[in-house]
Subunit: 310 residues, 2 copies
Amino acid sequence: MTLTVLFAASDANWAEYAEPLRAAIAAAGLTASLTREAAPQAVDYIIYAPTSPLQDFAPYIRCKAVLSLWAGVERIVGNPTLTQPLCRMVDPALTEGMVEWVVGHALRHHLGMDRHILNPGHVWDPSCPPLARERPVAMLGMGELGTACARALAALNFPVTGWSRSPKQVDGISCLHGDAGLDQALSQAQIVVTLLPKTPETENTLNARTLALLPKGAVILNPGRGALIDDDALLAALDAGQVGHATLDVFRVEPLPPDHPFWSHPRVTVTPHIAADTRAPSASRVIAENIRRGEAGEPFLNRVDRGRGY
Amino acid sequence: MTLTVLFAASDANWAEYAEPLRAAIAAAGLTASLTREAAPQAVDYIIYAPTSPLQDFAPYIRCKAVLSLWAGVERIVGNPTLTQPLCRMVDPALTEGMVEWVVGHALRHHLGMDRHILNPGHVWDPSCPPLARERPVAMLGMGELGTACARALAALNFPVTGWSRSPKQVDGISCLHGDAGLDQALSQAQIVVTLLPKTPETENTLNARTLALLPKGAVILNPGRGALIDDDALLAALDAGQVGHATLDVFRVEPLPPDHPFWSHPRVTVTPHIAADTRAPSASRVIAENIRRGEAGEPFLNRVDRGRGY
């Protein structure tokens, strides 16, 4: 039987994914027609990104799963017409890229690299940074990405405290949860990494109150979602020196608008949503594996819990 | 019996080390007089840095070992009056600091951070770097420090080739040696780290010929010794774009003279010999352990092989 797999995403996505998806589907032993147009009632699986105009999932009566190309599903999870199983993208290459960005920028701030990269006065100041073991890190969000980043930082001796809304246990990482746990994690952190999913509960996790809990001069790294941080509160904390620097990869509006104050703030580094790029070959293998599972009656990988929103 | 331990280093070294050394010696169960002046024939051990004027070791007829505060011993190893056992400093904190510097700057160049840190035009260019697994690294020098850095980079998925003058085997690292091995390691490396000891054989390991073997645009990280690189050849390779960037922590003359072209070269980052600072508390414990070993008749840690020069 030939499956009908609808690719619902942008032209650019199609150019990037068509070949890797066909290869991965074939390698999984499946026979499928990968298409950008099909009668809704004939579709077995939808591969989806919010770059597609598709909003009404009701006519896809035979569809066994909607497979997101994106890790974040906040633009689709609340859609009332979406009753089919929804799976997030958890791309192993995405995790690797995220670990590289987080570890790289954590070490950049830890080592004080910027004062050497930008040293117009040619100052030779051999004062030495502390060791990583003396630099506490708070990892807000201990999902797939947060846990991988926490482990990589701990392997470099950073004392890492992981925080999540619900309790977690991870070897080698001291884990806290709940509101009191968040306050405790922040009160000790010289570097804070925000890798929470975007849900109504996580919006503005870093706000005027929580930023004030940090030791003065702490650094924020946000490769998660723009909405995790209250921008105005962050700018005020940066202006006051309460936050020493913020390196931000994600924003409420992207590309970051040219007149946004983050661009020119001396204590902000903007990176253009590159911390975790999904890579077509590895993401395609994840999609194909989920189609294989659907056909074999096995549980899907990375299925979204709509109650939690991720 | 009270040992006489001569501290032969600068006033600044004394201010930093007197207390940690006394504490470490006591913790090792030894009774010693730690002093900056003693009759040479009464001295049991010399703690030494080249910041001391001491050059004639011949009168120290009872001295059982000269314990260097520095990892590099090139300024003392050739001294013909030094017939006592000589031990290098291998400070565990020094290794940690070195790993942090090397991994941090490797990730900085790998991720292309500088174009985000310095982005006066506020350009949003979401082109994504490759993964670390696609970025080959050559580690020149596979001693204590080189091996630790190679392992940390490999743990982040960088494909690391280790090179040393004599053959080595290290799990997870592809190791090459000898002249042909050097050429092979360099011909594939997008990032080269120089962590060789300074000996007559390693001087100018990176020179016009070997720099030309690199893939165009490769990055050099030198936290080892200034003399490992031919400065003029490096500047020419940087001007030609053959070397994309050099981040240098060590120099033939330190502090780097204000008129040195490295300061203002757009493809050079100068860090002020901070990659591996010896930390007094942990270094003092290593010194005390070697005194304990000397008194117990056990082999010294990190004893220098004068034939090799390190």
